[in-house]
């Protein structure tokens, strides 16, 4: 499957650009996340030059570093959750049991040579429930989801004060080792419970922001001329 290439003279260029084949096109109903726009505008030298009118030669951004996120990297991916159907449809507060969700992230597009530097889980909750809040905050639990078995070992627990803004959890170091390649896919079981008795929240959207560094795209800094 990896050998599949786009026909024509563009194939070699696509491969050089790190793409196995030409994507089919923009997916329907998939808006570009505002964060990705912000990162693009900040990274793009031509855009920066257009804004600043004049940029001294060589005055480019720090190479192989994503300034806004504060980590090394030259590839940022916004990966949507594929596990929508696995979610519990309705929240229930009976007996303090809130629903759990299974989220699945397809990481097969990540090349094994890429070194992950950030894997940020981002969760958005239904607006009405997020605004209602819980007096003592929430506890987010992230565990491995094992097909046919249910919930596997817990990866992290995190206290969340409010749900109005996206809830974020860093998975690098918890879901897989910092110096290891990303897995082909990530299947997680999520649970969010109010710390004091209260209503459950409903998950609206889950995504993974993955930053990687491909050393092949990162040229060493030019040495000063002697």
């Amino acid at each position: 499957a990896r050998a599949r290439m786009a026909p024509g003279p563009a194939a070699a260029l696509l491969q050089a650009l790190g793409l196995r084949d030409a994507p089919q096109g923009a997916p329907k109903h998939r808006p570009v996340p505002p964060l990705m726009w912000r990162l693009f505008r900040r990274r793009d030298p031509q855009e920066a030059r257009a804004k600043l009118r004049w940029t001294p030669p060589g005055a480019t951004l720090r190479p192989c570093h994503v300034e806004e996120l504060g980590v090394a990297g030259n590839i940022v991916r916004h990966i949507p959750d594929r596990g929508v159907r696995a979610r519990s449809p309705e929240p229930t507060s009976a007996a303090g049991q809130c629903p759990e969700w299974t989220v699945v992230f397809d990481l097969s597009a990540v090349d094994p040579a890429e070194l992950p530097s950030q894997a940020r889980l981002e969760l958005r909750f239904e607006a009405a429930e997020a605004k209602a809040g819980a007096a003592g905050g929430w506890e987010l639990r992230v565990a491995w989801a094992v097909e046919g078995v249910g919930v596997g070992p817990v990866l992290l627990r995190q206290v969340v004060a409010a749900l109005e803004t996206p809830v974020r959890a860093e998975l690098l170091g918890a879901a897989w080792a910092r110096n290891a390649s990303a897995p082909r896919s990530l299947r997680l079981a999520l649970a969010l419970r109010p710390r004091a008795p209260g209503a459950c929240a409903r998950l609206a959207e889950a995504s993974l922001l993955l930053v990687t560094l491909d050393p092949r795209l990162c040229h060493p800094l030019a040495r000063p001329r002697r």
Partner: protein
């Protein structure tokens, strides 16, 4: 959209010429979100003596290129002129959808020709 190189005269010297690469033109506009295109530029022009080596304000020519141009002026049949090639390039970032519907931002080095030189 490329600037035409003029043959003869000082404008035919090796230098960066304007070339705008449009992703629509190459058929990538359905999955490249931004930019719509970029000023890639290209190098064209002669690397003959004396005017173009080294170019005013441009990068110094390699010693080998100077000697090759000297040799060409003395004995044109012995060797061709040096090549006019990119001497300094800069990166661009591209935002696109991949085949897994991920939104990807990649930073690519060496995509824009800033300066040309005789090599």
């Amino acid at each position: 959209e490329a600037e035409a190189a003029v043959s003869g005269g000082p404008s035919s010297a090796c230098r960066a010429r304007r070339l705008y690469v449009s992703f629509r033109e190459v058929g990538w506009h359905r999955w490249v979100i931004a930019p719509r295109g970029f000023l890639a530029n290209y190098c064209q022009g002669q690397c003959s003596l004396p005017a173009t080596m080294p170019g005013p304000g441009g990068p110094p020519a390699l010693n080998h290129a100077v000697l090759r141009a000297l040799m060409h002026s003395a004995a044109p049949s012995a060797a061709g002129l040096p090549c006019c090639v990119p001497a300094r390039l800069s990166p661009i970032s591209v935002l696109f959808f991949d085949n897994s519907d991920n939104v990807v931002l990649r930073h690519y080095e060496d995509m824009v020709v800033d300066e040309c030189g005789c090599r």
